[in-house]
């Protein structure tokens, strides 16, 4: 339990100064580090051919974001399919089948890192670095850029709205927001994390696998090939950038990817560090500290509640072992060096932040633990993915403003700007797409024979399918991995969920922010709905919980809850 408290405390203590630093970066406040990073950024702007101060409308910003993702996606797709003859492939790995390559690309350009492959056996060193690691740095930076554009446009306290030369609302410059985040945050934080992990024993080499001769020949394993590679830089960025896609199939459960309790401590904190820091950043960047406190309060309450449930659940015995072993926590799919509590904590963090890395197998969690992690992903705004988690939260906040205003009989407005039909429609599209797509695809996959590929009979079979689509739409990437998901159906249907689950919740709020910024500000009166209050925080919390429960309670009842009751009975 002390381990859990320590991790929460250290993460928050590190996130606070990082949040201040992020706010300084995005408001282009001069800092001592400009001498180091300024020239690097300048070189990059030159190489791309952009001016970092050029204002962009939300459409230009969104298009620049989409075009960049399309091109890095195409490059990654080609590399994955052609990796067999490309350099840096000491273990002789072949190119990927088209549908698996397509799913992998969709998964990595959306900051999801859902993997229908096993990295150590199916991806070469070159593809790992150039097609995977690069996307693991770029995509969270893009999510962060979108968040900052939304915050500065619709939430920042300022006297006048920034405009483009044509007089339209400017949301900032995409290239500047992206490059600053990569150069000043993602790469330095990942680099430090990578060295900590290399120190603890995560492989960090370009050499190929070594062959070992196991000690006990009578056990039937004549040789053991030890897969290594440039693992440390990848593991660092997969944790820091809420990516989640690891080098080895079972991710950070593998001792080569997460060797010690110390590396586990570092990796667990790295999951939540930037998502937490962005909440602090929001307070500083917008000049509304109380908004930051509200968001942090709601997110932390949800996080502690759902993490607590998960930790309790995994410390219960696994029902399958009743009378077969001494009573103890559920260790099926977990590692001895971490134990049940640290694994449950990781499972909660990784689903709350849409990271998706794991240090134990979620498929083997007890049913209540599994349900708590599904709930984390349904909400997807408890810190959430880098950038997009807070964007999701802002969507819920806008919905709460709308409903709250109607409840007290006022016309809805955010900081004096009217929330009208056009904005609310966009908010609803972004929010409602989630249950429609997840439940629709789950229903299709279980209804059509031969599609589901679930490995577990009974209620848990449904949970496996539900988890996979929830994870795809939430851009999480973890899975109930017993699922036979490397099929054309799974690869393509998940790719659809991945892409829609990434770009609609980025573009719709960006449009809402720009629309809002273009409106006249009405003076605040005593009757206006005050957003930055504890009452409103409770309302927002209530709306988040109700939205998730109303959408998904029936399917939770059919899956994990039914499994729980059948085991208890």
């Amino acid at each position: 339990m002390n381990e859990v408290l320590l991790i929460y405390a250290v993460a928050l203590l590190l996130a606070w100064p990082l949040g201040r630093y992020l706010a300084a970066i995005y408001s282009a406040t001069p800092t001592a580090l400009d001498r180091v990073f300024g020239p690097v950024e300048w070189l990059i702007y030159r190489a791309i051919g952009v001016h970092p101060l050029a204002p962009m409308t939300w459409k230009e910003y969104g298009k620049a974001l989409l075009k960049l993702h399309l091109i890095i996606g195409l490059v990654a797709l080609m590399i994955l399919m052609q990796q067999g003859w490309l350099p840096l492939n000491p273990d002789g790995i072949e190119g990927m089948r088209w549908d698996l390559a397509l799913h992998t690309t969709a998964s990595f350009i959306t900051n999801t890192n859902q993997q229908h492959y096993s990295g150590q056996a199916q991806i070469s060193y070159f593809a790992h670095l150039f097609a995977i690691v690069s996307l693991q740095v770029i995509t969270p930076a893009a999510g962060m850029a979108a968040l900052v554009a939304i915050l500065r446009t619709a939430f920042a306290r300022r006297d006048e709205t920034a405009l483009t030369a044509e007089g339209a609302v400017s949301v900032g410059n995409f290239h500047a927001d992206l490059v600053r985040a990569i150069v000043r945050v993602m790469l330095p934080v990942a680099f430090i994390t990578a060295l900590l992990l290399a120190w603890q024993g995560v492989p960090n080499t370009l050499e190929g696998a070594r062959i070992a001769t196991p000690l006990d020949a009578s056990a039937g394993l004549a040789e053991q090939r030890i897969p290594v590679g440039p693992v440390a830089p990848m593991v660092a960025i997969k944790q820091v950038g809420t990516n989640g896609g690891g080098w080895y199939g079972p991710n950070s459960a593998v001792p080569l990817e997460n060797p010690t309790p110390v590396s586990n401590f570092v990796e667990t904190i790295a999951i939540v560090l930037i998502p937490m820091a962005l909440v602090f950043m929001a307070g500083y960047l917008t000049g509304r500290r109380r908004l930051g406190v509200l968001v942090m309060g709601v997110m932390l309450s949800l996080s502690v509640l759902l993490t607590g449930i998960n930790i309790w659940s995994e410390n219960q015995p696994n029902a399958a072992f009743a009378d077969l072993a001494a009573e103890g926590p559920n260790l099926e799919g977990k590692e001895v060096r971490f134990g049940a509590t640290a694994t449950a904590l990781w499972g909660s963090f990784t689903t709350q932040t849409s990271n998706g890395s794991v240090n134990g197998m979620h498929d083997s969690f007890n049913p209540v633990g599994g349900a708590s992690m599904l709930m984390d992903m349904f909400i997807n705004a408890t810190f959430g993915g880098v950038g997009v988690g807070l964007i999701n939260f802002l969507l819920f906040l806008l919905l709460a403003v709308f409903l709250g205003s109607l409840m007290v009989g006022r016309s809805p407005e955010l900081y004096g700007r009217a929330l009208e039909a056009r904005e609310i429609k966009l908010v609803c599209i972004a929010l409602l797409l989630q249950p429609l797509l997840i439940l629709g695809l789950t229903a299709l996959a279980v209804a059509i024979p031969g599609l589901a590929g679930n490995s577990n009979p009974g209620f848990h079979g449904l949970s496996q399918v539900l988890y996979e689509y929830t994870s795809a739409f939430a851009n999480n990437g973890s899975g109930f991995e017993g699922l036979g998901d490397n099929t054309v159906w799974w690869n393509l249907s998940c790719a659809v969920a991945l892409i829609l689950g990434r770009f609609i919740p980025i573009l719709a709020p960006l449009a809402v922010a720009a629309h809002l910024a273009g409106k006249r500000v009405a003076p605040t009166t005593s009757g206006s709905l005050a957003v930055e209050t504890p009452t409103f925080a409770v309302l927002t919390l209530g709306i988040i919980v109700m939205f998730a429960l109303l959408s998904f309670f029936p399917v939770l009842a059919l899956g994990p809850f039914a499994e729980y009751l059948s085991l208890a009975g």
Binding site: I44, P233, R337
Partner: protein, 207 residues
Amino acid sequence: MNKRESLAPARPVTPAGSWIQALRGALVLMVLCGVLYPLVTVAIGALLFPDQSTGSLIERDGRVIGSALVGQPFSAPGYFQGRPSAAGYDPFALSGSNQAPSHPDLRERAAASSKAIAAANGVAPAAIPVDLIAASGSGIDPHISPEAAEIQIDRVSSARGLPRDAVAVLVATHLEGPVLGVLGQPRLNVLRLNLALDALGAQVTAR
């Protein structure tokens, strides 16, 4: 030349121009993040931590026996045994069982290993620590709990003809506690423990 002025002018970008920006942006950033970042990290990391970088390999008599971070299967009664593995301890096939508590096969597998472990070590099923029944997440968990080592001491010492105390001392010296008393669980590295057993056996024979 002023830095700001030397950049592309802040004028409207044509659609074709924005595609070219995207293409150049993609390539520049992919090289920075996918080549420079990892290669610099590998170079510096390998310099600082040469032993860890190549997989924490363990050698004996000039031969690579395994890795401290990769568990191995043991079946001879004179060796401590590790956890069940869904991957047969093959590091290229890494996997957990991915079976839910409600999966009938999980119960079946656990019953079989419970029976085998109880018989081999002369203990009741209710005394078997759960980590010896539960398969690991990675399929190559190198560790077992102190309780799991404890129930194997009798079997190992009698199979090797060693005094029980000698083996018990070896187990005690290989116990790793939580880091700083807080992080992680108490555990023993099975491969290191078994290597120490072999070394101990060699000493006894030499005497």
